[in-house]
């Protein structure tokens, strides 16, 4: 019981904090389901639910009744702290310190009722949610998964309504979905229920038949298997190909940004993930790629006036050369020292570009404009919907090269070097060449990304290439899972794509970003989609007992 109250305390503090920083109030502007539940309430609900689930999970009690009591107790405690907030708030003026502790917030917390009744409702509701959290823990794994996914999708559909609505509107006759699913603010009740039933049925069906389908597929002779796989691949390519047409301008733009980060991430993944060289100046190669294309193509400077395709090889070449040039002085450095030295390199490039000395060639702080768009057979990669294809091609190429490199002799040398430099050398691995090749390959990939970035924006400025980009890319590969190619894609989608989608909540972006990173490091330190070798390190115990049930 002590444990349950402790978790209740944590949850309560989180809930109060979320209220005091104004998140609950800001989010309550929007309904998830119109006139039923707002985003702000959903946020608190999730906190209480998660905490009571945790408390039911952590308890040592065997009986389900005591277990449920623990859940209820935690839920009650979370609500209790919110009640305390309202009570204190109505006695003392908290707004002097917490400007968000407004009457509106208290009104929200008491569900617009009179204080006494509202607070009672809050407590009762908290306990109920606690009970549900406990029940959720007791329910079978498969039910939990189905509920989690379908409720998650409803919340997702509600949160992203401003993006989904205009996107669905593009689909011609299908636009009618909008009327059924959405009101001006939030999902309709029948829409939410329909969505819930639809997803639940699909998942149930998959659960029942999925295994049969999979084993049926495996029993097929190799030839049809290959055909089916090829078919699946074709469908995937087709989906990727029509995506911008389906998604519209804004989402295509988000995809291009994510794609650029995937390109950058795949490059840094070689340096950090494969070769284990912590490079914090990675943005430098991105800048070099961008500026090479800018200088070679922009009529504003008028030196060369090449086309994008003529400039691209030079961008990659300069990227590779600068990768080697950076690599040579830091050959003997390891770990922290390498990180600091490369950090310096990234800044040197930015400061050089900013300098008055190079202004006639690189444009100084004003940057370089009028960079022409790439064209191929009369098709111009002008807007996000077209540049998407350029980036998609780049990502596919780089992902393919990464995959082949990983399984190559060079990939094995990188792996040995990452694990232990001295021993790698004692195995007959040429450290100098291996390191320089890692820097050069990573830099080359980054330069491709930079080149596309330049033509995408039509202009380059020194300020686009600050150290935060390096840090972001590093976060992408850490969150995705070091050394893993799908990990980079997932990481970029999560860390770059989601914040873009949630732009309207920009105020809380960094807060959520930080919270997610901390949670990740605690719960899934090997990344969202880890590479085999890293997964082993963090889950040695599980490997010995593969039947161990998963926590969630």
């Amino acid at each position: 019981m002590k444990q349950a109250i402790k978790i209740g305390w944590i949850g309560g503090v989180v809930a109060v904090l979320l209220s005091l920083i104004g998140m609950v109030e800001a989010f309550s502007q929007r309904d998830i389901i119109a006139h039923v539940i707002s985003m702000g309430h959903t946020l608190l609900l999730i906190v209480a639910f998660l905490m009571s689930y945790l408390s039911a999970k952590r308890t040592t009690a065997e009986k389900s009744l005591t277990l449920l009591t623990h859940g209820v107790c935690t839920g009650f405690w979370v609500a209790g702290l919110l009640v305390l907030l309202v009570v204190i708030g109505s006695l003392v003026n908290l707004r002097k310190v917490f400007i968000n502790a407004s009457p509106l917030l208290y009104n929200l917390l008491t569900f617009g009722q009179e204080k006494g009744i509202g607070l009672l409702m809050l407590l009762v509701l908290g306990s109920w949610i606690g009970l549900l959290g406990g029940l959720f823990y007791l329910s079978p794994m498969i039910l939990r998964r189905i509920l989690l996914i379908s409720l998650g999708s409803i919340i997702g559909a509600g949160v992203l309504q401003d993006l989904l609505r205009p996107t669905i509107a593009l689909w011609g006759p299908l636009a009618i979905i909008n009327e059924w699913l959405y009101t001006a603010n939030g999902l309709t009740l029948q829409g939410a229920l329909g969505l819930f039933i639809l997803i639940t049925t699909c998942l149930m069906f998959w659960h029942k038949k999925g295994k049969n389908l999979q084993s049926g597929f495996r029993q097929l002779p190799p030839a049809p298997q290959r055909i089916l796989k090829g078919f699946g691949f074709l469908i995937l390519v087709f989906i990727l190909f029509i995506l911008p047409q389906v998604l519209g301008l804004f989402l295509s733009e988000v995809f291009t940004i994510v794609g650029l980060y995937v390109l950058l991430g795949l490059g840094l993944n070689i340096v950090v993930g494969y070769a284990g060289l912590l490079d914090l100046g990675y943005v430098a190669f991105f800048a070099i790629g961008s500026y090479t294309v800018a200088v070679l193509t922009s009529p504003e400077l008028g030196f060369f006036n090449l086309s994008f395709w003529q400039a691209l090889p030079f961008a990659v070449l300069f990227g590779i050369i600068s990768g080697v040039l950076l690599g040579i002085p830091v050959l003997k450095m390891r770990g922290d020292y390498l990180a600091i030295a490369t950090l310096g390199f990234g800044e040197i490039i930015r400061i050089l570009v900013l300098s008055d000395f190079l202004r006639p060639w690189l444009g100084g702080a004003q940057g370089i404009g009028k960079i022409p768009k790439a064209r191929i057979f009369g098709f111009e990669f002008s807007g996000p919907e077209q540049i998407y294809y350029l980036i998609l091609a780049g990502c596919l190429l780089v992902a393919f090269v990464s995959l082949r490199l990983r399984d190559s002799r060079l990939g094995r040398a990188w792996m040995a070097m990452r694990e232990d430099e001295d021993v790698a050398q004692a195995m007959g691995i040429n450290l100098v060449a291996t390191k320089l090749l890692a820097f050069a390959t990573g830099a080359g990939f980054s330069a491709i990304s930079g080149a596309i970035f330049a033509t995408k924006l039509s202009s380059v400025y020194p300020h686009s290439f600050n150290v935060m980009i390096s840090i972001n890319i590093l976060c992408v590969i850490i969150v995705g899972g070091m050394g893993s190619i799908p990990g980079v894609i997932v990481g970029a989608a999560a860390l770059v794509g989601l914040p873009e989608l949630l732009r309207e909540f920009a105020e809380y972006r960094l807060f959520v970003y930080g919270a997610v990173l901390v949670a990740m490091m605690l719960l899934k330190p090997e990344g969202l989609w880890p590479e085999a070798v890293h997964r082993r390190e963090f889950h040695e115990d599980e490997e010995k007992e593969p039947d161990q049930p998963e926590g969630n």
Binding site: A416, D422, A426, M427, I429, V533
Partner: protein
């Protein structure tokens, strides 16, 4: 016939004169041991031989070919392979992956396969555990793995740095038994050891290193009888 010949080698760590003109030679098929106290320069000697440290003066020759001008990975390809001090296996790779990494210098697949077979025959324990992670092995097994990994590179001279370090006495016996086995197979070994008693039992000749200089060189048998060796390194009175 002399296989590895080290002549008047001087190695420095910055200003510290770690090896002050060491000369020694190893004949083909022989086990030679280098014994000495902590900090005498034993590991420095091995690191200089495998190219991880550059001598300021002196020459190291393998079958008459000067090694000091080569870089470490080239020296491995020439056939001088080190079993590093403290084992240093790749803890996150499986036993088999560790061994395959040892064969990095070899490009012929059939050669790698037959080397793997040889190592598994020498250490049946490793065959049993080939799918296990290196880091989960016991100390003795890790030493076997480190030795096997070095053997994967087809060494003509095996440099072993303190193979008995940190192992329980019973495991030390096993490790020395495998050294004897390697010797019987015809492997040439330069063995650096603090455990002078065991080292002098397997070696045919020995050198005693003190503060960077060789102070004694003799047949292992005679060194065991030597008054000074008995007092300083065998702990007898």
């Amino acid at each position: 016939m002399v296989l590895l010949e080290i002549e008047n080698v001087h190695t420095y760590y910055g200003h510290i004169h770690a090896l002050k003109g060491v000369s020694l030679d190893v004949e083909r098929g022989e086990i030679v041991t280098l014994i000495g106290a902590n900090g005498a320069g034993k590991s420095t000697m091995l690191k200089t031989t495998s190219g991880l440290l550059k001598p300021r003066l002196g020459s190291i020759r393998l079958e008459g070919e000067e090694l000091t001008r080569y870089r470490p990975h080239e020296i491995v390809a020439k056939g001088v392979v080190q079993v590093p001090e403290g084992r240093r296996i790749f803890g996150r790779l499986t036993v088999r992956e560790n061994l395959e990494m040892g064969a990095f210098a070899i490009t012929d697949r059939h050669q790698i396969e037959s080397n793997l077979e040889r190592v598994f025959n020498l250490f049946p324990r490793l065959r049993e555990r080939q799918k296990q992670l290196g880091g989960t092995l016991s100390g003795g097994e890790q030493q076997m793995l480190a030795t096997g990994r070095a053997l994967m590179a087809n060494p003509s001279v095996l440099l072993m740095d303190e193979p008995s370090m940190g192992l329980a006495p019973v495991l030390v016996d096993i490790i020395f038994a495998t050294i004897r086995q390697l010797h019987a197979d015809g492997t040439t070994i330069l063995l650096v050891e603090q455990n002078a008693r065991m080292a002098l039992q397997v070696a045919s000749r020995g050198y005693v290193l003190q503060s960077g200089s060789i102070v004694l060189r003799d047949k292992a048998e005679s060194l065991r009888q030597n008054e000074m060796v008995r007092k300083a390194y065998l702990g007898e009175t």
